[in-house]
Symmetry: D2
């Protein structure tokens, strides 16, 4: 995209089919909003509920043409695959345990795919997805949306431009309070799918937010985690799922790090934060005030970097619509992932070169790394905190 | 809108015709983005340049159907007024001196109108626009977008709920650095329209940003300014337009205030800020970190109010799409103005009652008050800073 | 002083006689604390109450030797003036209406003087004090302590070093909530001296805090205010003293400014803040977080300047005792005024040159300028807000 | 102390003998400043250098009477122990390896002791010191000064008052940049004592700042660390001493925590910070802005707690000299430790009850816990990050 959204309106919009994200889902609405912001997509069909009758009802309500209202994902994919004006892209925002199936079904029919995180629940599934993406050459975009924030991308660009030197130390934390109250959700009510490890994966806190923290570290630093010493567990009583995880990290360049995620910190909203120190300085960013990136050089005054403010690098400028002083928010960060995927998809379909600045959205390789990281954290935790290797493919 | 954007997708989108806002215009792209965010509009036609050939070319580029590509505003309005699927709404984002003409032309043909601020350049024009809006009963929405921010609306709702008591003191400032450099724009180049008082109005700084500051004060406080003692002038040498204004204010309930706006504060990005003190406490808000509203009660600890955080009132919740901790930005604030106007327009067209929470967008009455305020400030300044009455209609 | 307080301990301590500041006075304790911090003074005598019996009792309690316990200021000054080991300096922290008398009495006996602000209640008194100081050649230090903060001094030094260029725009505000509650102090109880204009001067808010704001502006900018257009008044009902003042300012270099002070902003603690914009950038400082000075250059990222952090200039380093990252506070800022006065007094007494970095404490000239500013603000306010000249001596 | 420092001036000052802290030492000057702030001490003698000639010279320079200028610590302690007006208290601020010897020598002669941290270099020494303190019944105060900050004490008091409920999660970090530059200190120059493990202890980063972080956690939470899984090491190349440490923590009530300290984070000044989450809310505090304590309740807006602001609890009020809005700093936090020790020492000597609010300074038990924690961290690190028990005495 560009600072003038007119440009974004050029060319045919991509036709999007959505799976999941019905009226009770925050993330579903978020995906659709993200798809609209830069006008690169139009939603042409969707299955927003796993119940056929309800799925058809919702599709009508959100304005899907009657000839594209389907009962099931398979029916939709089959039909759209053969329509002349069929969907180009499938966006998946269902419970985690179904990601793998829907991704594979979509790839098999030639659709590019946008998928919510975590990519899958198991390493085996993640490897399968990654393998299929590579085989098909289709675009696979995983919505680790926090790496869509412009100032996160500015941080990555500053690292790449050697503005902080060789990275030595990384701290990442993702602290939320949404699961601090032991009576919420009401234990006598229905169990939300996230509280069922069959659906949400082996570690709720790691899948929900740990995977974001992991992706953020890798995105900005460009480093891989080689070893991890971790504890993953439940701090709120009577709870069957993980609500905190701590870890020490060793990176492939010798850097050291620390990782802390929890959803049980009462009163905290959405505290994702990172500090990366290199030989030349330190970068600090916090999601709750995403428009500020603090840069502390080794021997010069600390700087407040702002969106499109002085010193903005091309990757950040590419990720912004507003002039300086007009803060963009969470929706625009999410939209950056969608719009960059659109650029890549349009390029793939046309055989042209994509804008290289657009090629920073998370892929199946990133998704696989995330699932491997979760597995390693659980392994270390079960082995008394000992260092374990973190597989990198 | 609602916290689940699915709801926003219900019902027919409004058909939007745009006037102005071509590729070089920041605000044009912003208007179009705002119209997309909640999916309440579709742009069906537009004249994005005052030059007929260029206007047609741009219309094609942004995907306007060939049978709705026009050469002039008049041609467009005439044609759309009689089409069965003609535009419902006209959005105007041209230089200030043409607002009045285009608004009147649109109203005369029965279109609801969304217009960029300031509403007009003169009080007489503003009175005419306001009179016509009242006569026609059509919806007129002025995009003083800063009052679309959720936490500004939270502030207004807290004032209405008597959380700060009777208002006594108001400080507002709008400090920018965009015109601090005396060589920018290059004095040897073309004069931008904003630098020509014929086009941008009698006081550039007051029209550009003073009108926003004025609107913000009235929106949150619910008070009117009765008297003003002001200085309006140019601080950067060799400059023909105003770049700063200061004023003391007296409100209709006896409260006192201070007002300071400038575009010549080197290095400042977009520093719109307000502090309102009542008998029970003080509210503070700054546009550069719009997700935080600070509330300082008389005898209790200061509070950080956040979007959809604890204590969020209905007007703010109505203005938010995200759950707590996921900051929305400038585009969403702007979109709130657009989406609330959509609600009002749809209600007017259907004869149904609009959601009362949607009826807080700026109207022609607000626009007129703004132009009267600018006139009073200039009058006081020319009279040696003496207090002058600020007309309220 | 120096970053190593050992140095400060060199040489004989100055013998200090205090007038005022008994057990119920915050500022009295603050003065004595300030005198201790750098070990440049020892309190040898004092009259801490205007009631002779009480004065003697308190003197005993704070450890004054029995042969230096006096009944009255005159008795004390007379006796100390002839003792071989008599007081060197008199520190005055009585109600404002007595400052002039005690200063003159002290100067007449050859004592250097440290005096709390405002210097006097009337312009005539201020002129007399200033004249006597000039005639005697004695040191007179006025405790406008906010200009003792290291980062305020860093701001001054940056202005002097042309880091922000030619000053164009100045905003200063001093917002407190201490007099927001109309029932505090209890209207049925004794009237505190501050609420009696006979004792506290013609404008309580201007004497209490307006004088600080004025001093801060002049200290950092090095500019004089030539004209002022002001309103000074009472916003809390049934109040006989001023609790707010607003003003527009014109400086002697053509710069423009705005001034806002109040003690009626419910819930605000001690909000003294300043923003100064020059051709090259803007400085921002707020007293409640005094360890941060924000510098926003015209075309480079904003900087966070910290005490003894990178870019610290000599005047700030001179005003600090701690290494970077160890914030000093209000007491140290106050102590800087005391310790710089000690340096000047010791130099005067020894006939040696004082460290030029120590010669930035407020003097009688600053005190006179403050009283003249208050008078001009009241005059403008009474003349309907018209611009009036602000006398500069 | 009290909000009126007059009170602090009552009674005889304690006579202080200092060991260490010569002109090149930051901490030496800091100790002496801390002893002055509340006027509870007078320095009567001292050995500020390990070199006899230099020690005598410095003693003269700082104003020690000639009959109390000594050549060695032993000579000083012996002489002062028998003087009628001999020292009451010995303050030790020498390199870490000598703490144990000087503490024992002081206790043996009946002096109360104030000692810089870490208490000793080895667990055995720490146990000896702690045992001797218990045996003698003398006061031993360890200057973990960060727990002297008023808002840290407010946090402790809020925990004790159950305002955050049962503690579940603790994050502590101490991030500095002072040892980020691998050429500083100059490797070809003299090795500072801190870089010699014989003098500074087995882990420089843990002794220097890890011990502060550990003390801060225990002070606020009131919990003990039962188990630790850690890595302690050097991240800057060619370095013989530790410059970072990370750890996962298990507390004696089942709470979990994370610990991260480093002196190699380029550009960071003195970033000690803590977040403690209980069942009812979360507290956050950062040393660089020590005047703010953020409290995030489970279901109410986040609060900004300030010194002597609304909600201040007695322990914090006891630790403050200023009214609200007048921030105290690092020196006052350090002085709180000194002044509380003075209260305890004066009470011990007089046989009276000390003010219970003064009895929160760190003791030999805290010092021992700190050394045991460092030992456990090193043990876990050497065992591959496995969980190890953290001894508690």
């Amino acid at each position: 995209m560009s600072s003038n959204p007119v440009i974004a309106m050029l060319g045919r919009k991509l036709r999007l089919a959505v799976i999941g994200g019905g009226p009770d889902s925050f993330i579903g609405g978020m995906h659709r909003l993200a798809s609209r912001i830069d006008d690169r997509y139009e939603i042409v069909t969707g299955i927003l509920s796993s119940k056929p009758v309800k799925a058809k009802k919702i599709a009508g309500e959100i304005g899907i043409c009657s000839d594209r209202i389907y009962s099931s994902v398979t029916e939709m994919l089959d039909a759209e695959a053969v329509r002349k004006d069929g969907a180009d892209v499938v966006a998946i925002m269902t419970p985690n345990d179904s990601h793998c199936e829907y991704v594979l079904a979509s790839l098999a029919r030639g659709f590019d795919v946008i998928c919510d995180k975590p990519m899958t629940n198991t390493v085996a599934e993640a490897q399968t997805v990654h393998q299929k993406v590579k085989e098909t050459g289709l675009i696979f975009c995983l919505t680790h949306n926090y790496t869509g924030y412009a100032m996160v991308r500015q941080a990555k660009a500053m690292v790449q431009a050697d503005e902080i030197g060789t990275i030595r130390l990384i701290q990442v934390e993702y602290v939320q309070g949404g699961r601090a109250d032991e009576n919420d959700p009401d234990p006598s009510g229905d169990i939300p799918w996230r509280h069922d490890p069959e659906k949400s994966g082996p570690s709720l806190v790691m899948g929900d937010i740990g995977s974001h923290a992991h992706n953020l570290v890798r995105f900005i630093s460009g480093l891989e985690i080689e070893e991890i010493a971790a504890e993953v567990g439940s701090i709120v009583p009577k709870r069957q799922f993980h609500d905190f995880a701590g870890a020490l990290l060793r990176f492939n360049n010798g850097a050291r790090g620390v990782f802390w995620v929890t959803q049980a910190a009462a009163g905290v909203e959405n505290g994702l934060g990172i500090r990366i120190s290199g030989t030349k300085g330190t970068l600090e960013w916090m999601q709750e005030i995403p428009q500020i990136l603090t840069f502390k050089p080794l021997s010069a005054p600390a700087q407040i970097r702002t969106p499109n403010g002085p010193g903005t690098l091309p990757l950040a400028a590419h990720s912004l619509r507003m002039v300086a002083g007009h803060p963009e928010g969470f929706p625009e960060g999410f939209a950056n992932i969608y719009s960059d995927a659109a650029e890549a998809i349009a390029a793939r379909r046309s055989g042209k070169q994509a804008n290289p600045l657009a090629l920073h959205f998370p892929t199946s390789a990133d998704g696989l790394a995330g699932i491997q990281f979760i597995a390693a954290a659980i392994e270390s935790s079960s082995k008394g905190g000992h260092w374990v290797k973190c597989a990198t493919f």
